[in-house]
Symmetry: C2
Subunit: 149 residues, 2 copies
Amino acid sequence: MITRGDAENADDLIDALSQTSFTVMAVLARAGAEIDLSLTQLRVLAILRDRRLRMSALADHLGLERSTMSGLVDRAEKRGLMQRAPSEEDRRAIDVFLTDAGRAVADDTRLAVGSSLAPLTDRLSADARRALVLLLGELRGATPGPRQT
Amino acid sequence: MITRGDAENADDLIDALSQTSFTVMAVLARAGAEIDLSLTQLRVLAILRDRRLRMSALADHLGLERSTMSGLVDRAEKRGLMQRAPSEEDRRAIDVFLTDAGRAVADDTRLAVGSSLAPLTDRLSADARRALVLLLGELRGATPGPRQT
DNA sequence: TATATTGATTCGTGTTACCAACTACAGGAG
DNA sequence: CTCCTGTAGTTGGTAACACGAATCAATATA
């Protein structure tokens, strides 16, 4: 039975997810723009916050081509946010990691994003927030996984 | 008292929102890429699906500069997806609207996005979906508003 | 050892986005 | 009515971002 409101429901969810995502991305982009960082650079910084990865692994995490990574890391390195070093295990590979300055920027940004999103998150009660976290976790397959912001 | 788990909770929510948003954007971007449309072009199409707007209004909706809009509409027009026409009320202004082809593409894309997101939304029960829609609505300020996908 | 495969870079191209400058029209102030 | 100011859109210049193809070095595999 039932089966009726289901389609509508799915459609509503898609709209809600899309709209929310655009809103969140706009907030993130704005937070990054404050310190002249693109969304992508923000992501790289966040990913490297507690890790050291080789170029290709980084590209995989971001879903980008290796060639794109070269450019991204070039620019970030030029700004002193991250650094390259040859890998120990494989002499073809190159590790990337944050400099102290890069980590500082990553931390700052994280705070900035928090306060930029506060106007949104404050609309929810503590209970609602908890529920939302759970639902979104379930949606994404509950992989607690690494930071993406 | 309390005040304790609250901060964590807010942090978790920010992570959940950011990660989910990146995931959703990736899905949208991929769906667009299938037919050679960028995320931005997708948004323009979605916004114009049931409206006819002048350039500046479109720019406002997207949070972009007017000059950026010129380029976007140029390319979309060249592909036969939308069309320009001088406004009736103001001879400076220019209206933009979808062609039939553009509307078809917009509809197709909407379906494609739906099925691309299905693997995610299917993880939730109907009740959970309903709850999520409500929570996201609340988060965004419950502005039912126009499509943004 | 010869041949693939993988890791990263470089090069060329196209899109997106900004800003500043410009043209054309609109709406007052005088 | 004329001048001035503001608004609508475009153009041109610049930079980031992203892709694919080609290349080079190092590693695996036959």
